[in-house]
């Protein structure tokens, strides 16, 4: 819990002299932004919890006054203590450990025996604050956690071969890291479910799931449609006219494409099964799309050869077919 921001005014982003109305206004807006059912970002839940806890304290003028007087640990301070006495007692006890004087009413919920150390808040308090919000919904009992989603960007190569990622998520007690295996053949927009890694449930209810949505990064060479890969295959005019065999690189290694004689630009030559693998069936195909290139500055010999070709050929590419 140490990671949690303890300054409730900073959590809500309001000045210390903010009116109750202002506090309510800010809280409502933040709650709508970060509620786990509205915002599926894994970090949103922690923020929502902090905001709810802050509002829980600041929305009630009496608890707010006590918070202003005694600080974040005001729940450890007995109800009837005099602020001046408290300050003196605290100064005497030195920094840190000023054990709650009158044990009788220590804590909001924990009795005298409650183990919550000074400056600590126990987990029920936080989760209660999260969904309880102080006023609404006490007595709901356990509520399972919400599902969360996060995007994870992979390259085409990674989508082809599969990869491992370490992702960091905001969670109770700071960030936690997860090692995630992205299976070979993941497609753009595919959801990878991590059971039980979503939002926390309250009062021991099960957590939600975390869904990672694979986003395939744009690639300078490959264009992806589902599991089919498209690459550009550049050809010299004579290669296209006479036919040839060209090596194209695919994520799975080089592959030979046979270009039949008489190929024009825009022809798609298919290499069956050379697209992304499919764990549940047929892999995608690779399409090499031909594009005929000419030398921008032909040599004298090339120029003459093209002229001879122009003289002997009656080919008209614009003739209606």
């Amino acid at each position: 819990m140490a990671a949690s921001e303890r300054d409730f005014y900073r959590v809500l982003g309001v000045p210390r002299n903010a009116s109750q109305e202002e506090i309510q206004q800010v809280y409502r807006r933040l709650a709508r932004t970060y509620h786990p059912d509205v915002n599926h970002d894994p970090g949103a839940e922690e923020r929502f919890k902090d905001v709810s806890e802050a509002y829980d304290v600041l929305s009630d003028p009496e608890t707010r006054r006590r918070y202003d007087t005694f600080g974040p640990d005001f729940r450890q301070v007995p109800e009837d203590v005099d602020p001046e006495t408290w300050r003196r007692a605290r100064a005497r006890a030195g920094a840190g450990r000023a054990g709650a004087g009158g044990a009788g009413q220590a804590g909001r919920r924990g009795g005298p025996g409650s183990s919550a150390g000074f400056g600590d808040v126990n987990i029920e308090d936080l989760l209660g604050g999260m969904f309880g919000g102080g006023r609404a919904g006490r007595g709901w009992g356990p509520i399972p956690g919400a599902d969360q989603t996060a995007e994870i960007e992979v390259t085409v190569e990674e989508a082809y071969h599969g990869t491992r990622r370490t992702i960091s998520l905001a969670g109770p007690g700071g960030t936690r890291t997860l090692d995630v295996t992205i299976p070979p053949g993941v497609t753009d927009g595919q959801r990878i479910r991590l059971a039980g890694q979503g939002g926390r449930g309250s009062d021991g209810a099960p957590p939600g799931d975390l869904y990672l949505i694979a986003v395939i990064a744009p690639d300078p060479v490959y264009r992806l449609e589902g599991r089919d890969l498209h690459v550009e295959l550049r050809l010299a005019p004579w290669e296209a006219a006479l036919g040839t065999s060209v090596a194209v690189s695919t994520p799975g290694g080089e592959a030979k494409v046979k270009v039949p004689a008489g190929t024009s630009s825009g022809r798609r030559l298919r290499l069956r099964g050379r697209g992304l693998p499919n764990p549940r069936g047929k892999p995608g195909d690779l399409y090499a799309e031909t594009r005929i290139m000419v030398p921008a500055r032909p040599t004298k010999a090339e120029h003459e050869a093209f002229e001879r070709l122009a003289a002997v050929s009656d080919f008209d590419p614009r003739r209606p077919r």
């Binding site: 919000g133 609404a136 497609t187 395939i216």
Partner: protein, 98 residues
């Protein structure tokens, strides 16, 4: 990969309410308010699928988080579902896919 051909497990009202950790009357009320889908057999008994437990949890979270009444929760959950569909469509449209 092969999947066994089994019918999705149906839960009756009491089983479903127990799994959701709430009173059956509350579930019956959710259904009557149209914020939770259920199928009715010829005898009038309500049946649920296990997948709907997350819908109950969401109703509870929205109620607890925003102090919404149930009519408003129906509207909010419908809108959230529509947004999810639109976001998925937007994601597909943003990048060429299939």
């Amino acid at each position: 990969m092969t999947y066994a051909l089994i019918r999705a497990a149906r839960l009756d009202l009491d089983e479903f309410a127990a799994a959701a950790g709430v009173h059956p009357d509350l579930i019956r009320r959710f259904v009557a308010l149209g914020i939770l889908d259920a199928s009715r057999d010829p005898g009038g008994r309500l049946w649920f699928t296990a997948g709907q437990l997350s819908a109950v949890a969401r109703i509870q979270r929205l109620r607890a988080g925003f102090a919404l009444n149930y009519a408003a929760i129906g509207l909010v959950t419908d809108l959230l579902d529509q947004i999810a569909v639109l976001q998925a469509a937007l994601r597909r449209a943003g990048r060429p896919e299939r």
